[in-house]
């Protein structure tokens, strides 16, 4: 394997309001290979979206700042580019689609204007070439009667259709990397299935890498090659998708998997919630960020922060303890019987 397409090293992002400093991403490292699909799973406030906004250099400033780290993309550190160079990367090599298709399109521009602009800017197409390509893109994402819809405005499209427009927009310049930030969370489940199906097909056709940010462990299972689990601004576990679901090693991942009811099981075992709530990131715990909610934590966990280490080939976990699934099942017995 050569150099990965994207390599993030020790990324730290903070938000400062007055005297309060919130660390949204603290020293996160990961990589994405060419053609690979990676899922980033975490709850609200875990830093999953901010770490991706950092890759796009779109962290809202002045409150938000990237204070440390390197983001290598095709041999260049994106954090060292000036704004004109970054603009040439954004939308062309790396595209991002957002959760809410209602607010990510400009309501006073037609869908045609949205699509034509990047084609002219990044690919240097003439207006008529760009228009032809725009129609092709809309057809590709399954918008019926595409040619006649170029002059329509975002409010004339439904939520699912707007997300299709966003995807067409994201793919318009054949990006190497598509970052999708909870693109189906605002959609109904049958429409979500349509969008996931579409992304799977397009990823094959375009041969691009995809980073899919979500809180839904179900979506990730069927879509990605590798999973990164984030908790309280840290990457706590990363592994191949089969490995992660079969043999999760971090107590937070284990906790998440046993806290969700499953559609495919008839038995109605009591759910095992993770007690408590995520830590306050303006005043994070000294040791492991998960220790206050973890059923296994020891004195070490509370005083010393563990590092992300390889527990099996290609499987990394940020935990002091060598845990197996069996240990967790035992804990579950103890808790449920208590």
């Amino acid at each position: 394997m050569g150099e990965p397409l994207l390599r993030v090293e020790g990324l730290r992002t903070i938000f400062q309001t007055g005297k309060q400093v919130v660390t949204a991403v603290s020293g996160v490292s990961y990589s994405v290979d060419a053609g690979e699909t990676v899922g980033i799973v975490g709850e609200s406030g875990s830093g999953k979206s901010v770490s991706m906004l950092a890759v796009m250099r779109l962290v809202p400033s002045p409150a938000g700042r990237i204070t440390e780290g390197k983001i290598w993309f095709r041999g260049r550190n994106l954090l060292e580019l000036d704004s004109a160079e970054m603009r040439a990367v954004r939308g062309k090599d790396i595209a991002m689609i957002f959760q809410d298709p209602m607010t990510s399109l400009n309501p006073v521009l037609s869908i045609g204007r949205h699509l034509v602009e990047p084609l002219k800017l990044h690919l240097g197409l003439t207006p008529s070439q760009a228009k032809t390509r725009a129609v092709e893109l809309l057809q590709m994402v399954g918008i019926p009667d595409a040619a006649n819809r170029l002059n329509d405005y975002p409010h004339q499209f439904s939520g699912g259709m707007r997300q299709r427009v966003m995807i067409a927009l994201g793919l318009s310049c054949n990006p190497k990397l598509l970052i999708a930030d909870e693109p189906t969370t605002a959609l109904d489940v049958t429409i979500q299935a349509q969008i996931i199906d579409l992304v799977k097909r397009l990823r094959r056709e375009f041969g691009m890498s995809v980073i899919w940010i979500t809180h839904d462990l179900g979506i990730v299972a069927g879509l990605v090659d590798r999973v990164i689990v984030m908790y309280a601004s840290h990457v706590v576990e990363t592994a191949g998708v089969d490995d992660l679901y079969e043999n999760p090693r971090h107590p937070y991942t284990l906790g998440l998997l046993s806290a969700i009811p499953r559609l495919d099981t008839a038995e109605r075992t009591r759910l095992m919630p993770i007690p408590g709530k995520p830590p306050d990131l303006s005043n994070p715990p000294k040791g492991c960020p998960f220790a206050p909610r973890c059923g296994f934590s020891t004195a070490d966990c509370l005083s010393e922060k563990p590092t992300l280490r390889e527990v099996a080939p290609g499987h990394f976990s940020m935990c002091h303890l060598e845990l197996s699934k069996q240990a967790f099942i035992n804990l579950r017995e103890v808790r449920v019987n208590a």
């Binding site: 709850e43 609200s44 439904s158 699912g160 259709m161 109904d188 489940v189 049958t190 429409i191 979500q192 299935a193 349509q194 996931i196 199906d197 809180h215 839904d216 462990l217 179900g218 979506i219 990730v220 299972a221 069927g222 879509l223 998708v241 089969d242 679901y245 906790g255 998440l256 998997l257 806290a259 969700i260 009811p261 499953r262 559609l263 495919d264 008839a266 109605r268 009591r270 759910l271 095992m272 919630p273 993770i274 007690p275 709530k277 995520p278």
Partner: protein
């Protein structure tokens, strides 16, 4: 007189239509949004009936129609044998004591200017259940019941997290000792690790107080976990109603089948092998629902009859199904 053999709640042919007017001030009626268009079901004492469907299918409006907010267009809502559609507003107000609601958004459903004590005490004051110091004692007891520290009574909603606010909302619903609680998407605004806490709490309370729930949600896995029987709604109508295991293991209606197959499973191996039914298109507008079966625009099996006649709901091996084609 209430009879303990009859269902606690029976809804018959409930319709909730919202009028669409045109023109300024004295607009004339030009159409109606048929949010709920002829829904019938019953909820037995102590059971949980799940009501699922996608946004706009009318599941929340059905819940609101039951508590008569707004008054439905037509139909019957028999609560403990009394038709809520026929009683005057004062009797209705007194009856609502037994019928409480837990809402989806814990940020919007608690008055930000009231303390926790005032929020939870309100139903007791409105219904004249407790007086004086007994009110505060009861608020403390309710807070303990939902897993909050009783010392928080002087605090305001903004000081709590989403999960804690939902606990306050549940305490308020319990304050008047209801027999029936409508839970409208009670966990969908919460994080995954918190959702299980609230589900377990609702289950424990049901056991402890013999509560009857109508559980409205769009998450099919949560509904399976939580409900005894489940009704699936599509565009204002119930398309299928069955026991939880029958519905999930042997769905009959083509919409139920498609809906279940669209839900991703947290299991990579099974996900790769699964055959998915991807429905084409979107839900039509409830202002102009299609003629015949409401699902005919997206149904992969639709035949001529489906475009002409609306299917009646009928019994097919233990399921109630509204489809011409199911045998």
């Amino acid at each position: 007189m209430p009879d303990s053999n009859q269902p606690l709640l029976a809804v018959e042919d409930l319709k909730v239509h919202f009028r669409i007017s045109k023109g300024f001030l004295f607009g004339k009626k030009v159409g109606a949004v048929r949010a709920v268009d002829g829904v019938s079901f019953a909820v037995e004492r102590g059971e949980t009936l799940g009501l699922v469907g996608e946004s706009g299918c009318g599941k929340s409006t059905t819940g609101l129609g039951i508590i008569q907010m707004p008054r439905p267009t037509s139909g019957k809502v028999l609560f403990d044998g009394v038709d809520l559609m026929k009683i005057d507003s004062e009797t209705l107000r007194r009856t609502r004591r037994h019928l409480q609601m837990v809402f989806q958004d814990p940020y919007a459903s608690l008055n930000p200017r009231l303390t926790v004590e005032k929020i939870i005490a309100e139903p007791m004051v409105v219904h004249n259940l407790e007086q004086g110091p007994a009110v505060r004692e009861r608020v403390r007891e309710l807070l303990r019941l939902v897993g909050l520290d009783p010392r928080v009574i002087t605090r305001y909603p903004h000081e709590f997290s989403g999960g804690q606010r939902q606990r306050i909302g549940i305490a308020r619903a319990l304050a008047a000792n209801p027999s029936f609680i409508i839970c409208d998407e009670p966990i969908s605004a919460l994080d995954v690790s918190i959702q299980a806490q609230i589900i377990n709490l609702l289950k424990d309370l049901q056991e402890q107080f013999n509560l009857t729930y109508l559980f409205i949600a769009h998450d099919l896995a949560v509904v399976r976990h939580f409900s005894d029987r489940i009704a699936v709604m599509y565009l204002g109508r119930i398309v299928e109603l069955a026991n939880r295991s029958d519905l999930y293991d042997h769905p009959k209606h083509p919409y139920t089948k498609a809906l279940l197959s669209a839900v991703p499973l947290p299991d990579p191996k099974r996900e790769r092998q699964r055959e998915r039914i991807i429905l084409k298109g979107e839900v039509p507008s409830p202002i102009r629902p299609p003629k015949g079966c409401h699902f005919n625009t997206r149904c992969p099996l639709a035949k001529t009859i489906c475009f002409e006649e609306a299917p009646e709901i009928r019994d097919v091996s233990g399921h109630q199904v509204a489809c011409h084609l199911v045998q």
